[in-house]
Symmetry: none
Subunit: 155 residues, 2 copies
DNA sequence: AGAAAAAAGGTCAAAAAAAGTCAAAGAAAA
DNA sequence: TTTTCTTTGACTTTTTTTGACCTTTTTTCT
């Protein structure tokens, strides 16, 4: 059985689909009630599954009548493309970052499942272990080249 | 009487058959309970009987909701393939060697043009430069993982 | 208007729930 | 009797879940 965090993630993503809009507004307390869990569990899900690198942006308001909004950032969007390139041109990238980033490309169908698996297998710690302290730098360079390749007109 | 390790091995392989799927997901703790042994016994079985060279690839996740997956590789009876995996696992590989290897995979239509481009962009010198003297070892590890991924029955 | 209460959401660290590692002890084989 | 293979358990690491305490915003009551 999948974890509670996974269920909440799926629930939110389904809602987003159904909404047929790129923005979803929810109340933390209500959502926690639906899953009968503590409210901070919702924050955990947002922090681990709905970060900017993953293609979602979250804003919230406290106080009575508070809420949070999840906005999906589309790669198709030109501005987002620039963000992507900027992100990937960072000099270091740990595995988790790369995974979130690739998860996003997969979700948005920029890459397909097989490409995802292939890339993941090449950037994982096992592959890069011999690089020692240079691991995150190598990964960043690889990710940059992946993006450049994906953007090539003849890909 | 056969050893416990052998029984667990048979049990897993039977499950794999029955599942009529190339991928099996299990919980280490549950399996240990079935055989009333310590959980690390399961790791022993996986390490000695389900290695890549033996035609199985294992992936796992720790933490609450953790599990492991055993994926069958399509090498089955193919001794040559198993040897190839073993060979690639050990070596260092410079760019030219990797290029020839990938070229063959492309010719034999194991991979397609896009995959070829993607992989090449990740193993080239530019990507791996920061690895310094470890470059060829990193490339070999990457190529091994590429091979494993391509052979995954669920690829 | 100002103060207090209520109604949210945020943070952080501890507890819980897995899985991994490694070395020592025991059993089997050579 | 060495050597190799198996079994066990103490300790580690990772991921999720929970709860106590904090901050912000609105509402209600003098």
């Amino acid at each position: 059985m999948s974890t509670l965090a996974n269920k909440i993630e799926r629930y939110i993503k389904e809602m987003m689909e159904t909404a047929e809009k790129n923005c979803l507004e929810l109340k933390r307390k209500d959502l926690a009630e639906v899953f009968s869990c503590v409210p901070s569990q919702i924050n955990y899900v947002l922090e681990t599954r709905f970060r900017d690198e993953q293609g979602y942006h979250v804003i919230s308001r406290r106080g009575a009548g508070g809420y949070f909004q999840i906005i999906r950032l589309e790669v198709a969007d030109n501005k987002e493309m620039k963000n992507l390139i900027a992100a990937v041109s960072e000099t270091e990238m740990d595995f988790k970052q790369a995974e979130r980033f690739l998860g996003r490309l997969l979700e948005e169908a920029v890459i397909h499942r097989n490409e995802y698996m292939l890339i993941m297998s090449m950037i994982n710690h096992e592959s890069l272990a011999s690089a020692a302290e240079a691991e995150d730098r190598v990964r960043a360079a690889m990710m940059k080249n992946v993006l450049i390749t994906l953007l090539r007109a003849d890909y």
